[in-house]
Structures are given as C-alpha cells and as structure tokens.
Amino acid sequence: EPEVTQTPSHQVTQMGQEVILRCVPISNHLYFYWYRQILGQKVEFLVSFYNNEISEKSEIFDDQFSVERPDGSNFTLKIRSTKLEDSAMYFCASRYSTDTQYFGPGTRLTVL
C-alpha cells in the first residue's frame, strides 16, 4: 500500500540554524500539507500546497517557514532560523481529491 514517507525521523539542531524537513507524498496525490504537533498538544495546520503553490497557511507559518516541491516527488518544509519553540513533531500529509488525507510518520525536531 502506498504511504507518505518523511526524513529524517529525528532532527536535532541548534537555535538559529536552518533545517529542511523532507516528505515524499503518495505519487498521484495533488494536495500536500504540513502540520506540527508540540508534545502533548493538538495537531496544528501549518500550510497547504496545491498546483505548485501555497493554497492556505496558518498564522504559525510566518516568514521563517517556506515550502517547496522541487522535483515533482519531494515536498519540503524549511525553517530558516529555528527557535526553541519550534521543537515539535512535524507531519506531512497528502490527499488526492477526497478527504482521505494520509499522514506520514513525522519528523521529531529538537531545537537546543
């Protein structure tokens, strides 16, 4: 069964450093998403991406964040200058056209 994959599974970085989180969505899917989940808190929407551009973004998704689909298969989330409060699980998700949104296993980001 096709699945969303994410790398790395765990990323440790120093405050102020740039990180890139990578996702490979399911191949025929059209809509792509990034979410974050701070430990013990709710899953929070960051951004949706469709037709090679950002479709919607939340207040969390400020100028420090960017997304790219550089090669038609990968979908990346870049955090330009990480802060301590960026420590969280980051989930990528994709869907075709129905509401069956498939989530990846997540990348745990730890900012020291």
């Binding site: 809509y31 979410y35 929070e44 479709s55 509401d99 989530f103």
Partner: protein, 109 residues
C-alpha cells in the same frame, strides 16, 4: 475562541464497552468532518469522514454529525484493547484542516 473543542480525557473503559467521543465546533462554515486515530509518536490515521448531518457506520465505528448543534461524535462498539489510542476530530474549510486536542482512550482487557 477555539475553533474545535474536544475533551482530552483520559478515558478508560473495560473491553467490550461502548465508547462515545465528542467534539463541538464554533464555525458553521466547516464542510467536512473527520475522525483520526493516533498511536503514540505516530502520524494520525483516518478512521472516518462525513460531510452531512446524520450517522455513518463502518464496522464497529459510527460517526455522527449534528450541524444544527455544531456537535460531532464517534461511537466505538465492542471496544478492544487495540483501540487504545488518542482519537482526534478534525474539520475542514476549503483546504485548511482544524484538529481537536484529541481524547486519550484506554481499553482495559
């Protein structure tokens, strides 16, 4: 004001019990309603989705939506220890999804 409210629990039931999980919402523009299951340190897994008021059944799971009351429920019949997880409600407007905080469920053998 929170868009989606969900009682975080924790909820603990004996095996075989009927479980009722609930969410309320404030935005009448929500179009689609979903329930996800999340195991510890894993991504959410879609259980059910619906877009209309009423009930939708899938095996031991029943999703219920009451748009007039802005209230959705998930019922789990004959609960099993493998149902122990966090259950998240989610709602969609356009291409943006809003999640509840999740209810932690433990089914005791």
């Amino acid at each position: 004001q929170k868009e989606v409210e969900q009682d975080p629990g924790p909820l603990s039931v004996p095996e075989g019990a009927i479980v009722s999980l609930n969410c309320t919402y404030s935005n009448s523009a929500f179009q689609y309603f979903m329930w996800y299951r999340q195991y510890s340190r894993k991504g959410p897994e879609l259980l059910m989705y619906t877009y209309s008021s009423g009930n939708k059944e899938d095996g031991r799971f029943t999703a219920q939506v009451d748009k007039s009351s802005k209230y959705i429920s998930l019922f789990i019949r004959d609960s099993q220890p493998s149902d122990s997880a966090t259950y998240l409600c989610a709602m969609r407007i356009s291409n943006q999804f809003y999640f509840g905080t999740g209810t932690s469920l433990t089914v005791i053998p």
